[in-house]
Amino acid sequence: MSVLELSGVSYAYPGEPDALRDVSLTVEPGEFVVVSGGSGSGKSTLLRAACGLVPHFHGGVFAGRLRCAGLDTREHGPGELAAVAGTLLQDPETQVLMGTVRAELAFPLENRGFAPAAVARGVEEAALALGIAGLLDRSTHELSGGELQRVALGAALAGRPQLLLLDEPTSQLDPVAGDELLGVLRRVNEEWGTAVLLAEHRLERCLPAADRVLALEAGRLAFDGTPEAFLQRSAETPIARLFSLAGRPERPVTVKDARRALGAAPRAAEEPGPSAAPAPRDAALTLQRVWFERDAAILRSVDLRIGAGDTVALMGRNGAGKSTLLRVAAGLWKPTRGKVSASGRVALLLQNPGDYLLEERVDRELPAPQLEAAGLGHLAARHPRDLSGGERQRLALEIVLRSAAGAPAVVCLDEPTRGMDRGHKDRLARRLRELAAGGTAVVVATHDAEFAAAFAARTVLLGDGRPVADAPTADVLGGGWYFATQTARVLGAAALTPEQGAELITDLAVPEVPA
């Protein structure tokens, strides 16, 4: 029996057009299925229908038939479906309900009337399986976003459901925590045989684990097939784009497959020496021996000079001091020691763009001419909360840029690409390059090597509160192991972006390796 079976499912939220249109599909036990699609394509609605929130929680008009582990959602609500399908939604803060991790894992089991001994056993097993046994007695308020999401996953898995439904569970997490969560999901699928239905933007990370990909477009199922076939249809990952641009027929899913397809030739290409340093420009932002200390030293004697029109990516592991450096640079926090000077205003866009959006219509946040100039005129009548993550990020950036304090000399952005699809990332990179061309220095703290390669000429790598590398992006991201783009992982330091890689492959005329 299929764990999930949709037959002609259509659904519209109250007062809105159809979010799902005549969707029919099945998910078999033990399958790992990735759901792809742009913002508003119906991914979240599909998952909410599978767990019974649609229509029982959201209301609206539902047609067709949906069975989850044999339970028809027209007759069984989310409470009953919870026994067969665990659900994990986007925001880690609202996925965890109780004050301690142990209570959180016990909650779904207690709701189902398990005896105390069975609850205790279920809690221990879920904690051990997800590697969160050490967190059991911790308060949930002191957990990081990644830990919260793992605890929520534990709660979703505590009753050993047959199907796990995940709606962009990594969208609010930094890439490191996101990778860890995807690793856990893969293990749950492989070792427990739990079927997984995962909606996710970070396709390059989750496709290697996937058996199938579903693509939704405007609420319709536009594709249902293998990851390779999906990448043939649309080159959604950097590696697939690399091969597509190079005119190659293969669409490798993993870096390993890509290397195998290309043979040894491109990696054997000479790695370029250090790039020539660009001509120095007038300083827009200077940090001189800046220290920032709370309980521990977060920044340690940072010296940094950023020129007008520079595009700088600030990278480093969690806790390396990236966000603190931006806050200190923007004057939000005062350095404990050292000096920060700027040639003008330093604008800062923090991690959560929703915090900048206070009004009920987009055109009340910014006047119409400014919206038009920023290419956001078509959103004028929308409510800011109805915008996609990428649209919110762009609107918040314009608000920060055009604040009453005047045009900035430096713009700092803190992790702006979290949860963004490729289209929005490309548009954001374009906008940042425009700003830099106009003489504004742009500094972006990011874990996203692909985004850094797309927009930054220079990359500063922070380690333990101070810059451990400061060089042209090609040098930092080309030779790295963790801090490297997918293209660089395939081709070595010779190319960072799919475009550069395709050029290299074409120039070297790498022969196709027979399958």
Binding site: F57, L97, P116, S139
Partner: protein
Amino acid sequence: MIYERRPSPLHAARAWVAAVWCITLGLVALSIEQPVVLGALLAAVLGAAAAAHAGRRVALYLAWGVPFALVIALINTLVTRDGITVLVRGFNLPVLGQLDITLEAAVYSAVLGLRFLIVIGCAGLLAACVDPDELLRAVRRMSVRSGVTAAVATRLVPVLARDARRLAEARRTVGDDGRRRVAVLRAVTSGALDRATDVAATLEVRGFALASRPGRERRPWSRHDLAFAASALALALLGILAAAEGWAGFRAFPRLGPALGAEPLLLAGALCLLVLLPFADRRGVGR
């Protein structure tokens, strides 16, 4: 509102026993008027907080309570017309007429403020040292939905506080001069509603609609459970006896009295001992 598990006997005791102990301590304070005994009780509460590694948290609660205690004391002093030892004569206030400030009214008002502070201290101890999940689990055995609602509300407080801090920080980055306070308030409110909707959806997918009562947990009574239960019982009995026998006798009006005798001092000592004794045994306080 934020509980953290610390290695202390009070944290190690089962939640409902620890909660009953904190509440009993507060009730004893409410039953006593003798300022010396109340002062000793406040010291005992602070001592208990320190022994539970929650001294700083409880001190913060008390610091928050001091202005309120002062307001209570001040208003009561002004509006009380009893007492014969006049300190200040002849305030003329609209509506209230002529007001005299008497020594007796001032002392009685200080007693009220002191009591208020002790109750705040007990509430601080409860918030800092009693596991809300375990406590609410006990409540859920009686009323499932009330228990879960309280648990979620408790959990949402720090989440919303973090939201508010983030929002304030974002306003500073755009040079907000405070003119958009209504918009900020609306954003905070609608953000809280969004959070509440998301939490409701999570409750649904965790099977809350089925909402069975949690089973009774057979957990052996630990030395700390027994110690705090015995302490609570003894505190309650001593409070009742003291009230019945007039050991903490205190008269504010018309003149302060009686003079401080041995009984209040003995009562103060006994109360301090009963409050602090359960903290003496620190075996098995870790988890």
